[in-house]
């Protein structure tokens, strides 16, 4: 008998490996992708393809350079997940090189240079997003409009999308439109009411399209919670903080601010709360920590949306809170069994 010598435990939950976790998260984005494609045309899918290929290639290249088992690590689906998250976050008709830059940067610099999966302090997808947002602001602000609102009167066909992404589409201007957040950001001196009645991006169909997108990500996110892949803490805290911030400021200054509902249903609110903020590697680990972390993101989203230079604040909010995550972790240890209170901070040698 050649007997195995292994220490306990000798068994493991079947089937739930890291790759499964990543696959599930990717699957959970499907409702959102479907709605986006339906509303904005094939651009999102083409982006996803470009992003996935870029991600797998750059991951494989770096793994080869680092002399790691390429196949083993590629199969964990983490690179693919980053690609998917970036692919859906970028505007549907963004030129291909923007996507490639974003994904390659995310995989190579934000993830692999820190030591690969599990060691990256920042959310790779958001690092990539922030890089291209800062570097190429013009293509990054070109969102498509819903068909009933744009001069062209229809969504881009598959060929047109391809053309827009890989070459150039002269008629692209007749398809694009500002997002509601963009529109509201540039309302300038108009008060809210006037803005909502006059600015095109703030009209019903435009708002509704974003409502649909957000609802789809909400469904996907709830699925993840149901599968216990994420806990409710981070998304609830993020959305809750956003809601409270928007509510409070709207109460005090209804003429210059948008309603909480507007904030929760436009932009990347749901996507950010369920898919970006919950990235386990770069977020907090304890439940209390997740609450603080999520709330921080929610507050930052509102602050950047209202007073920052960009229409949406998910990327920067998440990145800023990534900085704080280790610190928050130290101060939010759970109370261990048999201890009167939780230990905090890094003070060493205290007894309790």
């Amino acid at each position: 008998m050649a007997l195995l010598r292994i220490t306990s435990p000798h068994t493991q939950r079947a089937g739930r490996r890291t790759s499964w976790v990543m696959q599930m998260v990717i699957l959970a984005t499907v409702p959102g992708i479907v709605v986006q494609t339906w509303l904005f045309g094939w651009g999102t899918l083409i982006n996803l393809m470009i992003a996935s290929i870029t991600a797998l290639l750059s991951e494989a290249a770096i793994l080869a350079i680092r002399r790691r088992a390429v196949g083993f690590f590629l199969k964990d689906y983490s690179a693919l997940l980053t690609a998917v998250l970036l692919g859906v976050a970028l505007p549907p008709v963004v030129p291909w090189w923007v996507t490639v830059t974003a994904v390659a940067f995310a995989i190579i610099f934000a993830k692999q240079l820190y030591g690969g999966l599990g060691n990256n302090p920042f959310n790779p997808a958001m690092v990539g997003y922030a890089i291209v947002l800062v570097s190429f602001p013009v293509p990054m602000s070109q969102w498509l409009g819903v068909q009933s609102m744009i001069p062209a009167g229809e969504t881009l066909s598959f060929m047109q999308s391809l053309q827009a992404i890989f070459h150039q589409l002269p008629v692209i201007d007749s398809y694009t439109m500002a997002t509601p957040l963009d529109g509201f950001k540039h309302k300038d001196l108009l008060d809210s009411q006037a803005a909502f009645s006059s600015i095109a991006a703030l009209q019903g169909p435009s708002l509704n399209s974003w409502l649909w997108v957000n609802a789809a990500y909400l469904v996907g996110g709830l699925g993840l919670i149901w599968l216990r892949i994420i806990t409710w803490h981070t998304p609830a805290a993020t959305l809750g903080a956003l809601l409270v911030m928007a509510g409070v400021f709207h109460l005090f200054d209804p003429s210059n601010t948008a309603t909480p509902f507007f904030h929760l249903t436009t932009g990347a609110a749901m996507f950010g709360a369920f898919f970006i903020a919950t990235d386990p590697v770069s977020s907090c680990t304890s439940n209390r920590g997740k609450l603080i972390y999520g709330a921080g993101i929610g507050i930052l989203i509102y602050i950047i949306r209202s007073w920052g230079g960009y229409p949406d604040g998910v990327a920067f909010g998440v990145l800023l809170m990534n900085f704080a995550a280790p610190l928050i972790d130290y101060y939010t240890q759970p109370r261990t069994y048999g201890h009167k209170k939780a230990k905090t901070g890094l003070k060493i040698g205290e007894d309790n």
Partner: protein, 900 residues
């Protein structure tokens, strides 16, 4: 409150937990099996936590079933009985079931197949006799906890009386997958179980008695309900939801009481006692039938067995025998686990025996328990955290373990991890988290042990260094003496004789010194041993399981060291005889000193007895008889002491007579003086303690004791004075001593001072360390104050200061005297002066540094201000004297230079 139905208790919940596949059905399909007798039974002597039992039998002995074959060895130990009748064929090292595949001493029994029982003596009157007797009986029956670690039951039950017991919990949860031994036991022996619980309840008298059982055992629950209803019992039944690890002691306590066992404490500290069902049945069998613990229920399961089942198996049965019995397929077997899949450990070999704690043998196929998947990176998904029943952050602990940041890991409560494996089970990255934790824990433990050992080594090293320094000084002195002797010889023929005598005289004391040193070493070693033994006992009493083995190790080490030293000592005198042979007169003082020794032993004995009596007296202050006895003893003691003093003066005079060897005599006398002084001091301390106690209870003897104290102190003072001025004694002893010997004496004195210094320093260090230790243990300041260490520290420091002053003082005198004597050699004293000055400067600097340090400490710990201030004062004094000395030295140096 008696009700018709068994009461059900409220069930709370605990954080985390997992639901692994139960796999319990397999082993419950067949009824309870009874394997045949194996060809030999292997009975490890350590089947329980604590020290191994001591065998009572020899190879070749015939034993009957149930006969005691090993008895307990200390407080935390247990008895062992022959599981069947037969012959002892060996007592040797055999492989045992242990996580690290160790061997241990085992009694090997070859059964004769008759199963002849020894006479069984049930304890039928258990309700009438004292509970202590029942506990003692349980210990003799070899009852230990059969659920986990094998904790001797009587010790656990004793511990349960620390606090009023609110809950007595019977652990029938059996949450590990695969295992059904307890389930089967409850089904088969329901009545015995309940009766056993009732006996235990009689012993511990808890407010609530609750059986905690998981809801996946409906048959057992039904059986229990029936019996409880029939007996109209007070015992409550708490059915807890199936969730691993609800059967963990801490988790079950939380489930049933809602309370948590504080970290680092025991269930008894919150008034809870847990017992395993197997233990309860064993207690029942022992008390009502007189059967010692010789068998248990064990689950044989796993895909590699064709007929998995539960068996009642005799201890010592090799696992291989059981596998055979359950038709195992050797092709399929890939992993053999003792225990369950979550917390069990793999076995290397099937030759290991079943012991009191073996609840399951899992013979798994490869498909059933595949080799672990390759470890991936932690993605911090937090699933482990959600599963951890101890509410730890396993992913953080992993991080710290991997990066060896053990302090942080400890800060994140690594030691509260119960190693349940829930985190590893759920980890999607297949990280063997528990393995990392085990490694970190053992690293931390090792580091702690190494620290202790390093401290010991340091102490030893310092003592040795001091000794070596002293030796070097002595050699140097001798060299000088010889030099002088030769010069003297040239000038004065008269002094040739003593000069010749010097080498032999020097040889004798050398061996003498060596044996003295050895003796001192032995004495130190013995006192250490005693301390260790005491600690061991304490640890046993306080059930600090972890410390025990460690301490045991140290004790053995110490014992070995002493043995080695004693051997060495035995050798030394045999080397010495040449020296005494040269001097026959030395034989005369021997009998005196023998007698003296005897007398001293008497004194010590009487003192001990006296102390015992005094202690008793403290407990029963108005026992006239005791007082009388004490008075008698005191008289005895005085008489004995008189004898001692007489004898020692005798010895002194007799040694005075042997003036031919003044030096050896001197050292002898000094030694005696020192011993006397030590005894006197010890006496002072003892009396002081007694006084304190007496004052505490306001005993009328306080005055008498105070008187005693004064006397003792006087004596100690006198002795010390005598000790301090050996020079004054020396000329008396040897008035016509030649110059070289005088020099030697000085050197001797210097050496002694140095040794004293070293000892004093070691004392200070020890005191400081102990204070630190107390602080580390989080003792209150007041407690530290109360323990005598700070006092000791100050005492020691004062002594050190005094000694240092002494050392500093005579030196310059000598040095200044020397130039007069050696007027030609001017360069040498100057150099000496220079080194002297250097030394003093260093001393000054040191003192200053210490003052600084103390001041700093004063700032950081204002609570200790009092003692620190005292220290500062002492150091300042030292500093001043050193500075004064330094000034003097520099002055004389300049003078000297000017003179030239």
């Amino acid at each position: 409150m008696r009700t018709e139905k068994p009461q059900t208790a409220k069930v709370f919940s605990f954080h985390g937990g997992i639901h692994p596949p139960e796999n319990k059905a397999q082993s419950l399909q067949l009824p309870l099996g009874k394997p045949s007798l194996p060809s030999e039974l292997i009975l490890p002597l350590g089947q329980h936590i604590g020290q191994s039992s001591r065998p009572l039998v020899k190879v070749g002995d015939k034993v009957l079933k149930g006969e005691t074959i090993a008895i307990n060895n200390g407080f935390l130990s247990s008895f062992l009985h022959a599981p069947t009748s037969g012959t002892i064929t060996a007592i040797e090292e055999r492989l045992i079931a242990h996580p690290s595949g160790l061997s241990d001493l085992c009694i090997v029994l070859t059964p004769d197949g008759n199963e002849t029982w020894t006479d069984l003596e049930p304890l039928n009157n258990w309700q009438d006799i004292s509970k202590t007797d029942v506990l003692a009986y349980l210990s003799e029956m070899g009852i230990v906890g059969m659920g986990g670690a094998g904790f001797p039951t009587q010790v656990k039950l004793q511990g349960a009386h620390k606090n009023p017991l609110t809950h007595f919990i019977i652990n029938a949860a059996e949450c590990e997958p695969y295992i059904t031994a307890d389930d089967m036991l409850i089904r088969e022996k329901t009545l015995e179980l309940v009766a056993g619980i009732e006996i235990l309840q009689h012993l511990v008298e808890a407010e609530n008695v609750i059986i905690g059982i998981e809801d996946n055992k409906p048959t057992a629950i039904a059986a229990l309900k029936t019996v409880l209803t029939q007996r109209n019992s007070d015992i409550q039944l708490a059915v807890v939801p199936t969730k691993y690890p609800s059967g963990g002691e801490k988790q079950l306590i939380q489930l049933l009481t809602g309370k948590e066992v504080p970290s680092g404490q025991y269930p008894a500290d919150i008034g809870v006692l847990c017992q395993n069902v197997g233990t309860c049945v064993a207690i029942h069998d022992a008390i009502t039938q007189g059967k010692p613990l010789i068998s248990r229920f064990t689950t044989l399961t796993g895909d590699a067995l064709k007929s998995p089942q539960n068996v009642e198996v005799l201890f010592g049965t090799p696992v291989a025998h059981l596998l055979e019995y359950a038709d195992y397929e050797s092709k399929k077997l890939s992993r053999l686990i003792m225990g369950g899949p979550m917390m069990g450990y793999t076995l290397d070999s099937a030759a290991v025996p079943i012991v009191k704690t073996s609840n399951c043998i899992l013979a798994a196929s490869k498909k059933e328990l595949p080799a672990p998947a390759p470890e991936q990176a932690c993605i911090r998904c937090g699933m482990c955290e959600q599963a951890c029943p101890a509410s730890l952050l396993p992913q953080q602990l992993l991080w710290f373990s991997k990066s060896q940041e053990f302090e942080k890991a400890e800060h994140h409560n690594l030691f509260d991890c119960i190693e349940c494996g829930a985190c590893s089970y759920v980890c999607p990255s297949s990280i063997p988290l528990v393995q990392y934790y085990r490694h970190s824990k053992s690293s931390i433990r090792e580091a702690r042990e190494a620290n202790v050992k390093a401290d010991l080594a340091k102490q030893r090293f310092e003592a040795r260094k001091a000794r070596q320094d002293a030796e070097a000084a002595e050699k140097e002195a001798k060299r000088l003496a010889r030099q002088k002797a030769t010069t003297n010889k040239a000038t004065d023929a008269k002094k040739a004789a003593p000069a010749k005598a010097t080498p032999t005289a020097a040889a004798a004391p050398a061996t003498n010194d060596e044996s003295k040193k050895l003796k001192v070493d032995i004495a130190i070693g013995k006192s250490k041993l005693k301390k260790l033994q005491k600690q061991l006992l304490e640890a046993q009493e306080n059930e600090h399981v972890e410390e025990i083995s460690n301490l045991q190790l140290q004790v053995t080490d110490q014992e070995k060291a002493i043995a080695a030293l004693e051997e060495q000592l035995a050798k030394t005198p045999s080397a010495a005889p040449a020296a005494p042979a040269a001097n026959t007169e030395k034989a005369t003082p021997a009998p005196v000193s023998d007698e003296l020794k005897k007398a001293k032993v008497d004194v010590a004995l009487i003192g001990v007895k006296l102390k015992k009596l005094q202690k008793q007296l403290v407990e029963t202050p108005d026992d006239q008889e005791l007082k009388d006895k004490i008075a008698a003893f005191e008289a005895d003691l005085k008489a004995a002491q008189d004898i001692v003093s007489k004898l020692s003066s005798n010895a002194q005079s007799s040694t005075n007579a042997t003036a031919a060897e003044p030096k050896a005599v001197m050292s002898d006398e000094l030694k005696k003086l020192k011993i006397d002084a030590a005894i006197a001091k010890a006496a002072v301390k003892k009396v002081e303690k007694a006084l304190k106690k007496a004052e505490e209870i306001k005993a009328p003897e306080a005055d008498a004791i105070r008187q005693q104290l004064k006397e003792a102190q006087q004596r100690a003072d006198e002795l010390e004075k005598a000790l301090a001025n050996p020079e004054t004694a020396a000329p008396k002893a040897a008035p016509e001593k030649a110059a070289p010997t005088a020099e030697n004496t000085d050197a001797e004195a210097a050496k002694k001072r140095k040794i004293d210094l070293a000892i004093a320093k070691a004392g200070i260090k020890k005191a400081e360390k102990n204070i630190q230790l107390l602080k580390d243990q989080g003792k209150e300041e007041s407690e530290i104050e109360a323990s005598e260490w700070p006092k000791k520290l100050i005492e020691a420091q004062q002594k050190l200061a005094a000694l240092e002053a002494e050392e500093g003082a005579p030196a310059p005198v000598e040095k200044t005297a020397e130039p007069v004597a050696n007027s030609e050699a001017k360069a040498e004293p100057e150099m000496d002066l220079a080194t002297q000055i250097k030394k003093e400067k260093v001393a000054v600097a040191l003192a200053k540094a210490q003052i600084n340090k103390l001041n700093k400490r004063l700032e950081s710990t204002p609570e200790e201000a009092e003692s620190i201030k005292q220290e500062i004062a002492a150091t300042e004094q030292r500093l001043q004297s050193a500075e004064a000395l330094l000034e003097k030295l520099i002055h004389s140096q300049t003078n000297m230079q000017e003179n030239r």
